[in-house]
């Protein structure tokens, strides 16, 4: 039944050093959606006779029609906080942003709108946008009151998406909140667990934190667990732009239910996947991505430990199988690839095999890890340690970037420097910095487009 695109382009390089091997397998129908997978190693050649770490980067970028009319249908639930703290400009801007964003939806798209305070109201049950005015009217009628039953709001929103869960569509819950969840489950862990569960259904939860009163850990982890986006919006007048970007991100999706299975070769042990949730069992690694967009490359960065090998040895570092669902044809697709690695006693050969893109990605993720640690340290009151850690990473980034000259890393370096200042700030300003950091962390770890 399932036509499988099993393309194995194994470009074996000659006997010499070039043993880095990339498989690129795609065979796309002219107008169809596809995913381009690239497999890269931090170094194609490693030092011989040494136990060492290496990084495998699997990049995924969608290949779809550029025509907006041909984008995949979306099935989106807007979950809006209408607790008392949203009163005034916040709620008005949120309404405006939501309505403007819905303007971009077409007749095939499904939308639902859920508002929550102490209780939840399904303002618009999942429906095709045949009667826009009625939907807009429901949004316009929102009034702020009560407390924040965030969990219940997300539950109802997810339920609306589940009603019309589509293999051909993008299934997404967009949560806007400006406050602390205080009715129902409200710990970051609880929301993360819910996100993990929803991701199994192919539902992504994107979270938009508004103002300085929300729980950024909760929003960050809910988005992270479901591989959704997370944005910190300081002022409500930024909401329309943020909604527009969120919808743009949704419209660019070409594949869903993406799973990458990596089996490490002999003498190679998977250690961790940087920035993403992964299941590592023995030499097998499984990473799930909610979706792949045409606009941005997503990647999975695996750190492995390599046993000492004699010079001239060539190994299969990993065999990679990509499963995904192409949104235009609603069918399971599969690609596979392989990464080969060579060993050399010559350090020039090792240096020459370095891959800049992988190095940038690795640095980016390591720096991101450092900022997460810094937040933990700051939360524990170890402010000086947090600052030292961030400063050290700023130095490391600077040193590495002299050779790499990556604008991405330049920006990250700036962010880290700002964060290093931020950890020292009084509590109120630190809360703001913390929200900025959570937003950046999510952006880096998921290669969020905005």
């Amino acid at each position: 039944m399932k036509p499988r695109t099993k393309l194995r382009t194994t470009r074996a390089s000659g006997p010499a050093l070039a043993l880095l091997l990339l498989t690129l397998g795609t065979s796309l129908p002219a107008a169809g959606y596809g995913v381009k997978m690239s497999v890269e190693l931090s170094h194609g050649v490693l030092e011989a006779h040494r136990r060492q770490h290496a990084f495998l980067k699997v990049g995924l970028v969608g290949d779809g029609p550029r025509e907006p009319s041909q984008r995949a249908a979306v099935n989106v639930a807007l979950v809006l906080d209408r607790s008392g703290s949203m009163a005034g400009g916040k709620l008005e801007q949120a309404k405006r942003a939501a309505i403007q964003a819905l303007e971009g939806l077409g007749p095939e798209d499904i939308v639902s709108v859920v508002a929550y305070d102490t209780t939840v109201e399904v303002l618009v049950p999942a429906t095709k946008l045949s009667d826009r005015a009625a939907v807009y009217r429901q949004i316009e009628q929102l009034r702020a009151r009560g407390t924040t039953a965030l969990f219940a709001g997300v539950s109802k929103g997810a339920h609306e998406v589940l009603k019309f869960l589509s293999g051909r569509g993008v299934n997404r819950v967009i949560l806007l909140s400006d406050g602390l969840a205080n009715v129902g489950p409200s710990s970051p862990g609880a929301l993360a667990e819910l996100g993990t569960s929803l991701a199994k259904n192919g539902i992504t939860v994107s979270t938009i934190g508004l103002g300085l009163g929300y729980n950024e850990d909760l929003m960050y982890r809910l988005a992270g667990a479901s591989d959704g986006n997370h944005v910190f919006v300081e002022r409500e007048d930024q909401l329309p732009a943020v909604f527009a970007r969120e919808f743009g991100d949704m419209f660019a999706v070409v594949a869903g239910e993406v799973e990458l299975r990596i089996r490490c070769g002999k003498g190679i042990r998977p250690l961790r996947v940087l920035g993403r949730a992964a299941r590592i069992i023995g030499d097998e690694v499984s990473v799930r991505l909610s979706q792949v967009q045409a606009t941005v490359q997503k990647y999975v960065l695996l750190e492995v430990e390599v046993d000492p090998q004699p010079a001239g040895q060539t190994l299969t570092l990993a065999e990679i199988v990509l499963h995904y669902r192409s949104l235009d044809r609603e069918r399971a697709e599969q690609q596979s690839g392989r990464a080969q690695i060579g060993f050399s006693a010559a350090s020039e050969a090792v240096a020459a095999s370095a891959n800049r893109a992988v190095a940038v990605a690795v640095l980016e993720q390591l720096a991101n890890d450092a900022t997460k640690q810094a937040v933990e340290l700051r939360d524990a009151g170890r402010i000086a340690e947090a600052r030292v850690l961030l400063k050290k990473n700023v130095g490391a980034l600077k040193a590495s970037n002299q050779a790499l000259k990556s604008k991405q890393l330049d920006a990250l370096e700036q962010d880290l420097a700002t964060a290093a200042e931020g950890v020292d700030q009084p509590e109120a300003e630190w809360q703001r910095t913390r929200k900025v950091m959570r937003g950046q962390q999510r952006r880096v770890e998921s290669q969020q487009a905005f």
Binding site: F151, A158, E193, S197, R279
Partner: protein
Amino acid sequence: MHSRARGRLVVALSLMVLIPAALLGWLAREVVVADRHRAQRALGSLVGGELHQAEARVLGVLERRRAELLDRGPTPTDTAALRVLVAEQAAVRQVFLLGSDGRRLHPPALGPLSVEEEAFLQRVRGLLADPLQLVVADEEGASPKKTRPTAAAPGAAQGWYAWFWEDGLQLLLWQRSSAGYLIGFELDRYRLLADLAAALPDTPRGRLADPRRRTVLVDERGEALYEWGGYDPAPGASPAASIALAAPLQAWRLRGFIDPRVTAASTGRSLALAAGAGVLAVTLALGGLALFLWRESTRAAREAAQRVSFVSRVSHELKTPLTNIRMYSELLEADFGAGDPRAAGYLQIVNSECRRLSRLIDNVLSFARQQRTAPLLRRSVGQVDALVRELITAFEPAFAARGVQLVFSGQAERPVWVDADALRQILNNLLSNAEKYASGGKVVQVSTRARAHTTEIRVSDQGPGISATQAERVFEPFVRLSSALDEGASGTGIGLGIARELARAHGGDLVLEQDEGGAPAPRGATFVVTLRTEAAADPAAGAEPPSAATTDSRDRA
């Protein structure tokens, strides 16, 4: 009518109205309260019914989970397939599988595990050490789904198992296959909560919402997991109904709250209105009846008072000519009475009748005045005996005409402070009373006795007497005893009342003397007047009277 009798009548009539009204009001209140309780109970059971409906939805979610996981053919038994199941089943967090020999097949006892699987083994360590707990808990009734062998797999059993771990209640769905495998699905707690929230009603506003209810699903710690309904109960408010969910969620409760104004506004209010109106109507009717009775009973008095008012106006007009008639007839008697014995006799009768008419007029005027103010006294030094004697002399001819002898014995010679006019009026009334009613006797005795600060005057007749029951009534205005007694007697019926008021104003009293048994003398009546009479130190000196201040102020008033 006498004011005390009037007071008693008012009290009686008031009681006649108030007691039934109060009784009725109390009954009505009882009915309303009972009705409100009934309404509350009805609402409570209504809410209870709704809670059970909500419970059914919750259990429905569990049943769907169970059916999804267990009723879709045989569950996989190899690790790879179970890992796929965990990765794809949104409701499942982790799975374990035990072989028929009790050995753990998944997560594999040998071979690498994921971080999540290791954490899972920690959570269910106790359970895996003794998997019999599952079946035991189930047989103890922890689950409504008793072990249920299915036709497809006889000997198979399944059930729920609940335990507490970290953030609260965790659920595990287990099944023992006919082959002896025991599989356990750990449900994702938060996904379950999300599905429950999705399955339970939302809170639409302005459309189908009932803004007066709130239902809350609370966990084992009493914290709200999900709530719906437009009413916001105050913190700490007690629910109208509360039920524990059926197993395996028996640690959770559903609480139904109602806006208390709903209970007040339900049928109870109209009933309270009806009851209030009924009580009001009955009270009004009784009040009307009481008013009617009151007016009936006071009509005689009102009519008499009108009569007095009329008579007093007339009497005022009569007084001046009568005074002139009296003055000139006395002059006539003094100047020419000795000439002709017949003329002297006639003049004596004219004078006597003139004095009688004066007394009547005085009484009427006193009574009319007394209705408006207390009697005024003007004390001066005088001898009680002399005053009494003067009056007896005046009455002697009238008594003699009826064949009654007036006997006087005086023991009050001492000069005292006394209001001569008041004393005269009191005696006038007593003597004319005796004259009117005591004609059956032969003797009317009048005696005086001086005490330290008082003087006592007794007037006894030998007439028909007054019975004990009527002893007090004779002092009430316009009361005359049986018409049999009235024969031949006439008067306004106010004399004794006026005499008593004057005696009381004089610091004393007027009583009808009772014998030892409490009843008045069987034959004849004895009236006793007591007056407060301070002895005058020097009869010649016109010293100030003891109560001069009072008297003056009254005069001025």
